[in-house]
Every structure is written in C-alpha cells, then in structure tokens.
Amino acid sequence: MRHIISVLMENESGALSRVAGLFSARGYNIESLTVAPTEDPTLSRMTVVTRGSEEIIEQITKQLNKLIDVVKLIDLAESFHIERELMMVKVKTTGEMRHEIRSLSDIFRGKIIDVTPTTYIIEMTGTSEKLDAFIAAINPDCIIEAVRSGPTGISRGEKGLHL
C-alpha cells in the first residue's frame, strides 16, 4: 500500500543523506521525496512517498525514528490528509493547438505562466492522479518537458506535525 511519511528533522547537512541511505541500505522503496526548511529554520520537513506491507511501513517509521536527526514523523496515510504535487509542463503550441491546450489547462485549473510564439509553460497543482490525467490528456508529441515536485502532504484538522 502507498504511504506518505512526513518527517520533521534537524536542518543539518547530511540529514537528507541519512534518510536516503537508510532507504537504500534496507531495501525500502522511495517513490518520491521532497524536502525544504520549515518556518523554523533549524528544522526541515521531508515528505517521502513509499510502498510496502504494513510490516515494512512499521519498520520504515521505526528506523526513521531511530535516526538521531529525526525529530518527529507521521504516516499521513493513517489519517485524513491533503496532498498536493506541483507540476510545470512545457508544451509545443502552434496554430489551433494554442487554443486547445489553453482550454485543456483551464479544465484542469492550470495556469499558463510563460508564453513564447511556439510554447506555453503550464503550472498545475493537485493530487498526483490529477497531474497524471492532465499529461494523459495532451498529445505526447506536444510535451517538450515536464517537471514534478513529488507529492507533499498535510493532515486535516487541528493536529499538526510540530515540536
């Protein structure tokens, strides 16, 4: 099953490689990983999307907790949460295609953030499935490149991951 593990860790050099090293050394799978400092500059927050049986996910969370740099973590998949991913897609747009891509982007609530005579860059956020659907809806020949941040998530309600 897919899990989103949100990790609050010391914002120190090497902390990221401890997490990445743990996953590779123990053979855990990483689907995506995002990391950035939080509003408290001594901490950074990492979101790891992984897959595995309940036993494996339990081991992953325990092993992560064992890392000295890890302050706290939660498995977002265990409760109501919201997840979003950011994507930017550069597409070839000539002739009639310019209009078609624009309306498709509107349907997906994308924003065109850069325009040249032959290209658009579309910015889009949403769940990973929505971004997949958008990619599937455009003619693959039109896509020059696409960049995705990997999902990041937050739990709903009053609870939060903080010190």
Binding site: E10, G14, G21, Q59, Q63, K66, I68, V71, K72
Partner: protein, 578 residues
Amino acid sequence: MELSGAQILVQSLVDEGVEYIFGYPGGAVLHLYDALFQQDELKHILVRHEQGATHAADGYARATGKPGVVLVTSGPGATNAVTGIATAYMDSIPMVIISGQVSLPVIGSDAFQEVDMIGITRPCVKHNFLVKDVTKLAETIKKAFYVATTGRPGPVVIDVPKDITAPQIKVPYKYPEKVSIRSYNPVVTGHKGQIRKAVDLLLSAHKPIIYSGGGVVLGEASKELIQFAHTLGYPITNTLMGLGAYPATDKQFIGMLGMHGTYEANMAMHESDVIIAIGARFDDRVTGKLDLFCPYAKIIHIDVDPASISKTVKVDIPIVGDVKPVLEQMLEIIKESQKQPDAKALELWWNQIRQWQSVNCLEYDRQSPLIKPQYVIEQLHEVTKGDAYVTSDVGQHQMWVAQYYPFDKPRRWINSGGLGTMGFGLPAAIGVKLAFPDENVACVTGDASIQMCIQELSTALQYNTPIKIINLNNRYMGMVRQWQEFSYQSRYSHSYMDTIPEFVKLAEAYGHVGMRITKPEEVRPALEAAFAMKDRTVFLDVMTDQTENVYPMIEAGKGHHEMKLRVATGTSTDRELA
C-alpha cells in the same frame, strides 16, 4: 580557560573520564598527538593497525561497560577503522571514534588522505558528527558520549578536520556537564499496561521459555534476570551474545540456542507456548528458518530499541524499555498479582526438557588420540576456574567456547557475534587486559583468524598485557571447511592455506612465549604453565583434529526441531585431510 582544538579534545576526554585511548597517528591528527604528548592523564595505546585499535577499544568496552575510545588519522586510518566500527555497531557496543580529517577548506577536493568518513560510516554508526566549528567541539564530544552510551548503545564517529585542532587558534573551554538532544530521547521504563499483559500471559503458560540476549549484558540486568528466572522457575536459554548474563551452571539454564545451540534449547523453543525474549533481537542465526520458528508460541519481547521489535518475527506483546527497569517492574507486578505459575504443567515441561537433555548433544569422542578442540576448551574452563575473560575470533573455535566454557558472569565472554569479524580476538583481549590487569584473559582463536590481526602481538608486548592465546590449529578455516563438507560434497575450495607460519617462532619473534601442543595429554599441563606465567603473553599453538565439526547444527533453511546431531563414528584415527 582558553585552549586549542587539540587541547580541548584531549581535555574533554579526560573530563569525560576516559582512561585509555586506542590509536595510531598520522598527518591529519598531528596537532592532536602533540597535545597528547604534553599531558599524562589520558593513556594512549599505540596499536599496529587501526582495525586493532577499534577491536581493543571494543574489548575494553565489552568487559567494563564503559565506552571504548579510538583515535585514527584521516583517509586510510579512517577506513582501516571501519571494520571495527561495524563490529561494534552490530553488537551495540558503546564506542567513540575520533577520526582526523583534512582541513575544512580542502574538504571535497580529493586532498591527500581524504575520504568522506561521515559518508563511509553512516550505515554502521549510531550517529556521526563532522566538527566545523572549534567552539562546538567540547559540546560535540559530550553529545557523542551521550548518544553512544544511552538507549541502545553503539559507536559514534567524530570527524575532526585538521584546522579545527590548530594550536594557534584558542577558544574558551568548558566541558558541558549535560547535553540534551531534542530529537533523541530513549525510552527507559516499560509501559505498565503492556507489562501487566505480559505477566498474565507468562503466568498462564504451560511450556514457557526465557530467551535472553546481549541486551541483558549491555543493560547490566543480570541480577534482575536471575531473580526473574528463579521467581518463575522457567527454563532459560541465552543467545551467543547473552552468554554469562545468566549463570551457565544454574540448573534452569538449558544452554545456548540457535544454529549451534543445544538440542534441548532449540527443541524447547520449538515446542514452547510462551516465549519471553529479553534484550535479544531474533537474529537469523538464532531463529533458523522463519516460517518454522516457534509455531505454537505467543511471544513477549522486551527491547530498548523499538525497531528490533517485530522486525523479523511478529511479537504479541512488545515492551519498549531498558531491560533492567522493565524486569524490575515485571517482578513487582508478579509479586502484586499473587499468582503462581502452573506447577503441574511446569513439571511436565521440565520432564520433557530433561528428556531432550538426555540426548547429550555436546558429547564428543573423548578417547581420540588426536586433540579434540572441545577438550581444550573444557580444560581451559577448569584451569581458569570458569572465571576468565575469554575473547574469541570467528569460526568453529568461537562456537566451541560458547558451547564448552560455561560462563557464570556477564562481560566475561567477548566475541564478535553480529558482524562475525575474524581478527577481533587478539586486540580485544589486549583491551580487556588493560581494563583488568589482575584477571586471567584468554584469547581463543584459530590458525586463520589469528593471522588477521596478528601484528597486535607487538602492542601486547609494548603495554605488557600478558594474555594467553589458545590457537586451535586445524590447518583450515574450520567453519568454512565444515560448510563445504556438509553442503558442497567436501569440495574444500580455498579453505586450506598451504603455508601457515610457525606460530611458536612468530610469538617468540614478537617477544612472547610460544608453545606447540600436539598430544591430548599435553593440553592440561601446557594451559597450567601458561596461566602460571603471570607476566608473559603466551601463545599456545594447539594442533587439533582437522576433521572435527561443530555439532549440533541447524543447517540453512531448517527449523529448531530439525537439528543435525553428531553421529558417533567411533574413535577417530590419525587423519589429515589435505
């Protein structure tokens, strides 16, 4: 007080209460060695190879319970230490390793003797630190000792760039009395509700067994374990790492379990209905094939490391905490409950166990004209009155010590269990002897293992650590040969060295006493003579039966109930295999 980084490092170790530091100098740590030269509180033990430094510090730590401290230079000094660091990591031994590093401005430029020590050791340390600011040095050292010695202990590396230790830069020094790390708070006491549940399950058991491991040694909980076992009257088995935490000569002790454990311990595990695992981690050498592991048992597991719980074997009642307070809590709850174990069921269970014991799984050919290695260990036990510190290397000889030297006290049995590091025994024995100069220290080894760190014989002379080396010389890598006999139709691929040094001459060349023993009747007198030489390191080169195997054995892919027992083949004749 203003001190240079090098002085801060030395003074911090002194203030931490460190007695010995095991090391080897080099370019990146010259400032540090200069600071060491100018003081006399901290005693430096100069080894002959950095691997020796780590094993000696490790042996010291295992015997005393205090952290072992190592100092090595950057590059090859650091990489040579890695095997010893990994050895300590696998057995949860508290160590602090200080490695030199090239100066901060040149880090990352492939400078002379530069390696990424932080990156290399990351998977085999509990934590590591790169010091980037001399004003943080003392605090970093304090943190390193705190992390290494608390919770589940382990090695911690401090990588110190050369410019941090420069003599011309002086900063105020004060060694912190305490540190706290917001992201590190090891659990100590156990969850009361879980302990109650565990006690209920334990007292309702019909075929219970206590399975305890190295955590009891590390957690200084031997006394509590004995009280716990005696209160319940249940059979107890120890892992390789747990030997000595429960007295092996106690009648409730049914031997070691696992691959070369006793028949009775493994059968009792297999048939049990309740297992309480105490400071043990269900290692694959203990469990055998997981699908066949203890099919009828409910399992209680006490461990300080939550990640050890349900890692390979799913447990029913997990208890996270230090074994000592948790056992104290348990004893109290047992007392409060006023319930007793089911005496009738327990009697039946013990009868069953006695029956398994009657198989006499450790019997061997005592009439052989060749020296049986088991006999040597039994004699060692007698000559040392069962009270020596015994280190070992890795292989058959290690298993024979575990089987034939009943340890009655914790911290007496010093071996590399998790990583299985050949070369461990000799330097570890030096570390133990430094800690306990008046105690008997023996290193049981083999002709292959001893050659992996034999250069430390020189260290043993320099620091006058009179240890007794018992080399069970069968001219083979015995354990490899045994597996090749069992699983590869006796194709002894490279488990035999065509040339082995004359160990007696070698020992003499290093300034020690060497003796070669070729007949069974010479074993006892030689051991007595060796231990009588209180101030000499003695190397006993004991020529043993080449064909001897370690029995009983759980072969790969088998369960506890499928042990391979020794088939009596009569008295062995004078056989040489090669």
